[in-house]
């Protein structure tokens, strides 16, 4: 593999790991709220989080540009304040991958939390535990398998993200070119050898993730 391909592979893993971590931090609390609380705007939140699952990735990417681009709703004030913009950096790739992976994680974890017997949480409340503590010591440990499955799906989705990443982060070799983008470029420019090498590498990596996840899942039950 060429140095470009190796750097693409390294960047892809880096982006997928960061996006998965962000998913855990954002997605698990959202899934908990959706599963256990009734609040104003709940169905709106559910809708917004789920949209990336059904929208074309380029549309999601477009929204991200509108939001975070240099002239975006959040991006413009940020640029004015710091002279820095997230667009066309590897952070942009992380954000795109995070948003695209979020529905998979949230939906899986939501279902897992809903399957936890509510009487267990009620029992914890009557035994003096706050809602947060109950979530951390009862609900989430019992939803562990679902959370694990959700994280694996999120990682796999982040690893393969293409459309939204291209829109927000561009395709800058060595900076924002992840493996899927790199494969696309290689095929476009007729470097089929490089394309095959990366296709094999990505397939192998995905298989590895699934095998590890299955092992963990089997141990958890």
């Amino acid at each position: 593999m060429s140095p470009d391909s190796i750097s693409a592979l390294r960047l892809s893993i880096q982006v997928a790991v960061a996006a998965t971590a962000l998913n855990a931090m954002i997605g698990i609390p959202i899934a908990y709220l959706l599963a256990r609380r009734r609040f104003w705007g709940r169905s709106m939140l559910d809708l917004v989080v789920t949209l990336p699952l059904v929208l074309p990735p380029t549309v999601v990417g477009y929204y991200l540009i509108v939001l975070l681009g240099r002239r975006g709703l959040l991006g413009a004030p940020l640029y004015k304040l710091t002279g820095w913009t997230v667009a066309f950096t590897w952070y942009a790739a992380v954000i795109a991958a995070t948003v695209m992976a979020l529905p998979l994680l949230v939906r899986t974890v939501h279902a897992a939390i809903e399957s936890v017997d509510r009487d267990l949480e009620r029992a914890a409340y009557t035994l003096g535990h706050s809602e947060l503590r109950t979530a951390l010591e009862v609900t989430l440990p019992l939803a562990r398998n679902g959370i694990l499955a959700g994280l694996v799906l999120a990682f796999a989705r982040a690893l393969g993200e293409f459309g939204a990443t291209l829109m927000l982060a561009g395709n800058i070799p060595g900076r924002t070119t992840t493996v899927p983008l790199s494969i696309y470029t290689a095929v476009q420019t007729g470097e089929s050898g490089e394309a095959i090498a990366m296709v094999v590498a990505l397939t192998a990596l995905s298989c590895l993730v699934l095998i590890v996840a299955n092992r963990l899942g089997a141990r958890a039950t």
Binding site: L120, R122, A123, A124, T126, G128, P141
Partner: protein, 376 residues
């Protein structure tokens, strides 16, 4: 008399309204009534898991909820223990972890000491490191009790604590539960739809029907109030009648009813010992009344306990079986209107014995089929 527990709760849900008011002293109060009558909802209001629309809940002088005064303590601060239907033991923790779960604010040593004490009192030492799924139904029940009792709650709530068990175990554990509750000396509210359970476990019985309390009284008084009978009928308990005690021993109760001397089994571990000549309520399941066939030779009194004779005054075709209403060959008014006992015979038996033609029968009651309801 000041009450340990004062409950006034109103809560409207779609299609159901709970509107109850009752009080109880120390000891066990049982909430008895059919499913869907609001018993569990009352427990949830007491525990702070459901917020009533209006009312006031006071436990031992502490106001837990008062809609008018804007008081609503969260479940964490109510000091109310809850034993859930199906127990709700934490499956990812050991027995020790479950019992110590409510003691997280204590020091490690103090928690360990308390958990050991609870394990010891409930005879669970050998199971401390087991997972709940490795326990029998009875052991799970004790762990659930221990988990709730470990924190020294001011009040213990038990939601159908025996319904997860099969019948023979249920009867044994009912007595065990009674001795744990009295041994611990804790005020408790227990929900059940089983009349025998309500009587065996409760010092005070609160009868629920469709979100309302139709009566609340100490156990000794309740059974003689007419609405208990209508409730018993609603619950499908038939042949609930009263006799007069002759003699009660640890394993037998002898009593007089409609001129007969009958004998019932007493509870082997928690005998009910009413004084001679005191009133005694009991019920007999219609399917346990045994007709004696006339073609099987002479009747052996040793073989056929509680032998009686009577005439079929009415009958109802139930399809697979017949319900017969019998009047005993005794002078005086029958126990239940125009009849004394209701019994059920399979259709085949009815046809073989030609009951439609032959109306006078001898029958017997096995002493285990007579359910005495303690009233003192």
């Amino acid at each position: 008399m000041t009450s340990r527990l004062e409950v006034a709760v109103r809560k409207s849900l779609p299609g159901f309204t709970l509107d109850v008011e009752w009080s109880a002293g120390d000891g066990v109060a049982t909430l008895f009534g059919p499913s869907g009558s609001g018993k569990t909802l009352t427990l949830q209001c007491l525990a702070g898991l459901v917020r009533p629309d209006a009312g006031r809940i006071v436990v031992g002088g502490r106001v837990l909820f008062d809609a008018a005064a804007g008081v609503d303590l969260p479940p964490q601060r109510r000091r109310v223990g809850y034993v859930f239907q199906g127990y709700a033991l934490f499956p990812h923790l050991t027995v020790r972890g479950n019992i110590g779960f409510g003691l997280r604010d204590r020091s490690r040593a103090e928690r360990r000491r308390r958990v050991d004490e609870v394990l010891g009192r409930l005879g669970l030492e050998a199971f401390a490191e087991r997972s709940p799924r490795e326990l029998s139904g009875g052991q799970r029940q004790r762990v659930a009790l221990g988990r709730a009792l470990a924190t020294d709650p001011a009040l213990l709530l038990l939601d159908e604590p025996l319904s997860a068990l099969d019948l023979p175990l249920r009867q044994a554990l009912r007595d065990e539960m009674r001795s744990i509750l009295t041994g611990w000396g804790i005020a408790a509210v227990l929900v059940t739809h089983d009349l025998t359970e309500a009587y065996r476990l409760g010092d005070r019985i609160v009868v629920y029907e469709e979100g309302r309390v139709i009566q609340a009284a100490p156990r000794a008084e309740l059974l003689w109030q007419p609405s208990s009978r209508s409730v018993a009928r609603i619950m499908g308990i038939r042949n609930l009648v009263q006799g007069v005690t002759l003699k009660a021993t640890a394993d037998r109760i002898q009593f007089r009813w409609r001129g007969q001397v009958l004998e019932a089994v007493n509870s082997p571990t928690h005998s009910y010992l009413p004084a001679a000549d005191s009133p005694l309520a009991f019920f007999i399941r219609p399917e346990y009344v045994r007709l004696i066939r006339k073609d099987r030779g002479h009747v052996d009194a040793a073989h056929h306990m509680n032998l009686m004779a009577g005439t079929v005054v009415r009958e109802v075709d139930q399809g697979a079986s017949w319900t017969l209403f019998l009047r005993l060959d005794e002078p005086g008014a029958p126990a239940q209107g125009d009849y004394d006992l209701e019994l059920e015979v399979p259709r085949l038996v009815y046809e073989i014995l030609e009951i439609d033609r032959d109306r006078h029968w001898q029958f017997s009651l096995h002493r285990g089929a007579i359910h005495v309801l303690p009233s003192a």
